[in-house]
Structures are given as C-alpha cells and as structure tokens.
Amino acid sequence: MRIELTSGVHLNVIPTTKFKTTRIAVHFLAPAQAEQYAARTLLTSVLETACAAYPTQAALAAELETLYGANFGIGVGKEGGLHRVTATLDLVADALAQAPLLAAGFAFLRECLGRPLTQGGQFDAAVFEREQANLIDYLNSLDEDRQTQASLGLQALYFEDPAQQVPSFGTVAGLAALTNAELWHTYQTMLAQDQIEIVVLGDVNPAAVTELAGTLGFAPRNPAQAPVQIDQATAAVRRQTVAVSVNQAKLDLGYHIDVDLYGADYYAGLVAIELFGGSALSLLFTNVREKASKAYYASATLDPFRHFVQVQTGIDPADAAVVTGLIAQQLERVQRGDFTIGLLTTIKDGLLNGRLIAYDAPRFLARQALLHALVPTHQDGYAAFAAGVAAVSKQAVQRVASTMQLQAVYLLSNKEEN
C-alpha cells in the first residue's frame, strides 16, 4: 500500500511474515542530470560515514552492531530519466531479535540522513576531503574489472545525452572539481526537493510504520518531473576499440529496441532477449559459448527503461570479427523465427520460474513497490507477469527482435592485437 506522508513524500508498506528481516529503503529521486551525479554519489559516502550523533565511522559502525548487525548502505542508480539515491537498512525482524529494532532503525536513519556531521555550515572538512579522495580512488580502480569497464565504455559510446552516457556515480573529473559548499547545496536540494519514496517490508504494522516514517521529518515538496523512459533516435553504428593489457578481450554490442516500458510489446521484448542471450539455454550461450567455444561468457540484457539491449562477451582477442558475425547470426535466427516452439516454451518457463522465485527475496519485493510508484503501467503481481509472458507468440518475438538495430560496437582488447 502507498501512503502520502506529505506532498511529494510517499510510504510504501509491504507487510509479510515470511522473512527473518525487516527492510527499510528511502529513495530520493530527481531528474537525471550528469553534472549532479558526482555530487549525489559523494553525498552517499559522506552521509554513510558519519553524522552528528555518530561522529566517527567507528561510532556509526558500533551503532549498527548494536542493532544486531544491521546492514546499512547508501547507493545511487538510474531509473531511466531519473537519478536515484537510496539509503537501505536491513534489520533482523523484531520478533527474532526480541527487541524494537524497527523503531531504532528509523531513529538511526533520521540521524544519518537528517543530521550530518557539520562544521561552519558545511560538511565536516576532514570527512569531506577523505571521502572525496577515496571515491576518486575507487572510480579509478573500476577498470580493474574489465567486464565493467567494457559495459560502461559501450554505454558512453551508445548514448548521446550526457545524462545517459555518464554512469550514475559520475566521473573522476566531476568529483575532483566538487567543493564542500557545492556538496552542501546538493544535499539541501535533495532533502528539500527530491521525490521521496520510502519502502518498508517485513512483519510490520502499517499504522506503526506510518508514524515512524513521519519521524524522518521530510517537508512537503513539489518534485521536478522527468520521464522515466528514455528513447534515443537511431543513428549510424558507432565503433570504438580500446587497447589495454588483457589476455581476454571484451566485445560489447549495443542495440536499440522498440519496446516501451511495460507497454504492449514489453513481454515479447523480455522473451525475445531471453531467447537471444538471457539464459544458459539462449542462442548466444549455446551457440557462441558452448558449440563454437568462442566465448567464456556471452549474454544479452534488456534495459526496458532505455530501449536498450546490451550484448556482453569475453573472447580471445583474435576472434573479435568471428564473434561479431556469430552474434549477428543468432539475432537473425530470432528475427527469422529459426528456433523451435519447444525452445520458446522452455525460455518462457525459465522466465516464469525465475520471476516466481524472485518473490522470495525482500530486495525484489521492495523494488516492485518502487517501480509501482514510479511507473503507472507497472503490474507488480506474479499473475500479470505470467499472463503477459504466456501470451507472447513466436510471431511477436520475431517482430520485436526485428526492431533491434545495432548502434554501437565496443571492443576492449589487448595491445598486441591492435
């Protein structure tokens, strides 16, 4: 159930006795603007390190230990055209801990989010400087994971709008340029103007949670609106090769797909991409990895918020051209309908099975509440999903796959081959 606490601030409560935990998530949502990402990300580091009540990292960690080892973190992400900052607190259920942890958890969040450690009307200078330096180091180290590096490289190549080109956590240059005053301004703006969605899941009483959520003290606001869904016009294929020191090359491809978020072809899109490269039974996995032995991994994922399909592979640097051809062949097979009804049924069964199991995870259930709040056409029950997938015909899969247009090819390869 979704309750308006005040204008622009909502509480979503999911009562369930199934889990040993209670989850609280506080989402701050604002129109995605690339120049804000670095500040919003640094804000998460600063807020989760210290606050007035727990002025050192050790004091804050000790409080989490007192809360029976509660898991706390603040992260960022994008929901299409929205940028999201989320504080999450996972607590042992009150009944299991035999202690009022939910109330204590809200008190903790109130301190961390609402009463930061300050100095002269800004964030504590030592905390600001150290977290800024650490975050820069962390972003610089992301390239140590070559799969991540290639995926981010592909998105930077594919998208034209900086809000989508730049990852949700911003850039090193953006971080380095930030001042304490600017960060403070970003914080005040986020607290006062962002759309806020609070999600609480567990063995809880909605009325009690409503009262607790009210104690977070968010003021009424009229949040700026932005479309959740992104659609970029198609253009000529962009190609980029980056040479680094690797044994295994990463070949990533980006496609545009005509599938609207929770629109008429949404389920057909899910099935088509699952068949193309979403599972171990997919054409990419069975033909490129298993039969041709040309990749250690080969998969496709649909980003329904952005009309975007990403193919990721890890290959021998010498095989880039061959694998590009193999990937194209698999997509053509989906488009031509060169797959059996039996495989299609199996792929659909796999999607349904995975979806039903997802309802066993607090994280998934809590996310459904967020999606439901953000996208009016979202259906959060399993029955709707199952009916949607069941109705997908072979022709629909072919039709949707035929809308896919290759837009970007990103190759991360070794120095010798280039």
Partner: protein, 430 residues
C-alpha cells in the same frame, strides 16, 4: 531424524541412506523456491590420492576437480543443463578448494529436477572429443581470472605461503595443467571421490520432507554402486613456516597499489566441535582487531592507509589454514608494516569485553539475515555437513565463544615467522 531449532525457526531432516548418501531437508512452505545442492567432499586441492581399488598414490593435474564439474553436465546425447531448463529450472555448479557442488533452483517440477540432479551427477560420460573441447572453454575462464589484479594478488600471496601445497593453486588450474587432463584421469578421480558415502544432498524449500526423502531413497536404491571404500588422500598437511617466501611484488594494470599480508596456520584445525569453535573465534578476533567499529580501523582510515576495500579473512581446510589481509592503499609498505606490527603482538591484544558482546550480537544478526535466502541456507548446511557441527548449531557455537578463545586464537596464529607480504604496483605506462 527431524530436529527443530527454535532459535532459527527451522526444522532439519537429516538422514543417511543405506548407500552412505547423507540427505538434509529443510521444508520452507512459505517459499516458492526449492533449492537443491548435491555436494562431494572433493575439491581443487585433492590432486593426490590412492584411486579406489588401487594401492599406489597418484598425482592429478591441477584443475581436475573443476574440469570434472564442467564435464559431468555433458552426456552422449544431451546436456543436463537442458533437462533442468526444460522444466524452467535453473542449474549451476561450483568447485571450491575442498568441495564440488551441483545445484538447481526451481519453483516447479521439484521431483523431476531432483531426479535429474541425482542422475546426471551419478552417470559420468567423458570422451576424448568432449574433453578436448572443454579445454577451450576452461582456458578462457583461466585467462579471464588472469586479467583480474585482485585474483593475481590473492594467489601470489598463497603461493608465498604454500610453495608446494595445492591450496595455492586456483581451482581452475593452469593452461598447462588442464592440457594434461584425460578421460581416464577423470574416471579415476570420479570413482574414487563420487561415492555416495562421500556426498551430501541438501534440499531446502517448498517440499514435503517425507515424500522428498522417499523419492531420493528410491532413486538411490534403483542404482548399483561399487562398495564404499575409504578414501586415502595424499596431499600432505602444510604447517611449515620454513618454506614461506616472505615477500613478492607484482606489477599489474591497477590504478592504485595494493598490499596484502597472510599468516600461515601452524596447527591443524579439525572439523570437530573444537575446530568449529576455533574458526568462529578467529573470525570474531579479526572483527575485534580490524573491524570498522574498532580504533585501529578508524585510525588507519583517517590516515588514508586503508579505504573501504580493506578486508580480512580466515580459511581452514583439512591440511592447511591461513589468514589474509588485503586492501588498496597509496603506500603498500606502510599498510603491510602496520599489519605486521599488530601480528607481532601475538596473544597480547587489547580486547574490550563490551565490544566483544556487541560483536557477538551483530554476528548472530548477520547469521539470521543470511538464512533469508534459500541458496545461502543450503550452502551453509552443505558445507557444514562435512564437519561435526551443522549450520543451525553455529548460532550456539557463536554464543559460547569467549574472549579467552580469542586470545588463544591470536596466540596460536599471530607469529611473525608465519607471515608473508605481497605488494601490487601499477604497471609503468599502464
């Protein structure tokens, strides 16, 4: 056979079948999922053993347990992946230093998938052709890990501690070692280790325990197995500090240097109650000394010596045990020096009783949180099944551990003679 654990709110059905297979079942009627794990007490380090029915010790190429895991899915006319997939289930497998496990997760057709799991693992099929092809796929996997600096650091560190013990070798093996694997070697390892009496089947989820047990028992009764034979493992215990290489430096494509320190255990840690308690004590000791609510962490973090990447861990197997510490840092020498200075104090560590009580409570909370996910519960049950303490008894062990246990653990492990250091520096021009 059925035991209820009120503290964790679970009931465990624990039965050993006539052929020696141990079956663990935890019903979770609220859940859609059923997760099953078929595990063998055989992993990456088991490269020396006396084959079943023979008398002479043999040596296998590194990576054979992992190779066997990959190959078991493939049959003459089908792949077991597809059988699971045909019902909508997902399946997977993994190999660790000491165990290999095959699993499926499903919300439907549990009986059919259980039968598939039992049957494909118990029906090996290896040919020259399929073995040759697998070398290509695993070769790619090995190369991918080689590109991961953190992985290179970890195995560099273990290589220092254990120049000859196979625990220092990643379970995937090397391109050279997997080249030597043959169908005959796979069959020999299979018949030695994949005996039902050396295996556990764990089923957690939306199942009727008795019906599930009946199905498994009938499946096993219908098959013929060679008589159970004791397994003679030949990998020698390594607790020798004399062989440790004290230092290694690596030049890798990293943005920031890394430092790591490891300590070699000098005494065996058994898989009994005392050994389990010791391991719990060591993990609490690490949290007490190096955890983020401690003075040391705060001090090092404030100095810029460590950041969020700092981590420590303890691993114990039948023939080895070791502690590792690692993190990204501007000054790897300063970080390893700081770690060594703590180790140099041996048992003489300042451990605050109030903080200890809090950390135990937090540890219990994390333990409960881990029991939310069926895969995590099944993995814990399966791992513990090869020891004397089951996963639901761990909470009690955690409660019983005392500060004295921690001091003793520090005294036993913290020895400068048992330490090695590894540094990673950015490649010049990278």
């Amino acid at each position: 056979m059925a035991q209820t654990y009120p503290e964790v709110g679970e009931t465990l059905h624990d039965v050993t079948l006539p052929n020696g297979l141990r079956v663990l079942i935890v019903p979770k009627p609220d859940y859609h999922e059923t997760y099953a794990l078929f595990a063998v007490n055989y992993g990456g380090i088991d490269v020396r053993y006396v084959p079943a029915g023979e008398t002479e010790m043999v040596e296998d190429p590194a990576g054979i347990a992992h190779f066997l895991e990959h190959k078991l899915f493939e049959k003459a006319d089908h792949d077991a992946f597809d059988l699971f997939g045909a019902t909508g289930a997902s399946s997977n497998a993994f190999t660790g230093a000491n165990t290999t496990a095959y699993l499926f997760s499903t919300s439907r057709a549990v009986a059919e998938n259980l039968t598939t799991l039992l049957d494909f693992v118990q029906d090996p099929y290896f040919t020259d052709k399929t073995v040759a092809k697998e070398k290509g796929i695993i070769g790619q996997e090995i190369q991918m890990y080689q590109d991961t600096p953190g992985w290179r650091l970890y195995y560099g560190l273990l290589g220092n501690l254990y120049p000859t013990h196979p625990v220092a070798q990643d379970v995937t093996g090397t391109l050279a070692s997997i080249a030597e694997i043959t169908p005959a070697a796979l069959h020999r390892a299979y018949r030695t280790f994949y005996q039902p009496s050396n295996m556990t089947l764990t089923v957690v989820g939306n199942v009727d325990p008795q019906k599930t047990l009946d199905l498994i028992a009938a499946n096993q009764a219908a098959k013929t197995f060679a008589p159970a034979t004791p397994i003679t493992r030949g990998v020698a215990p390594d607790y020798d500090v004399a062989t440790i290489l004290p230092y290694r430096s690596l030049s890798l494509p990293v943005a920031r240097p890394k430092a790591a320190v490891a300590i070699k255990g000098q005494r065996p840690v058994k898989d009994d109650q005392a050994g389990t308690r010791f391991q719990v004590a060591v993990r609490l000791l690490l949290e007490m000394l190096f955890g983020d609510s401690g003075a040391l962490y705060q001090d090092w973090y404030d100095q810029g010596l460590i950041d969020d990447s700092f981590d420590c861990d303890y691993q114990a197997g039948a023939t080895y045990n070791f502690l590792t510490f690692a993190g990204d840092t501007e000054d790897p020498q300063a970080l390893s020096d700081a770690l060594v200075a703590v180790i140099a104090k041996g048992a003489d560590q300042v451990l605050d009783p109030a903080r200890f009580a809090r950390l135990k409570q937090a540890g219990l909370g994390k333990y409960y949180q881990g029991m939310n996910a069926l895969d995590s519960m099944a993995n814990q049950l399966s791992t513990q099944s090869f020891t004397a303490v089951n996963a639901f008894e761990l909470a009690g062990v955690m409660r019983d551990v005392t500060l004295d246990d921690l001091h003793q653990a520090a005294g036993q492990l913290f020895d400068l003679d048992a330490v090695t250091v590894c540094h990673v520096f950015p490649e010049v021009g990278a």
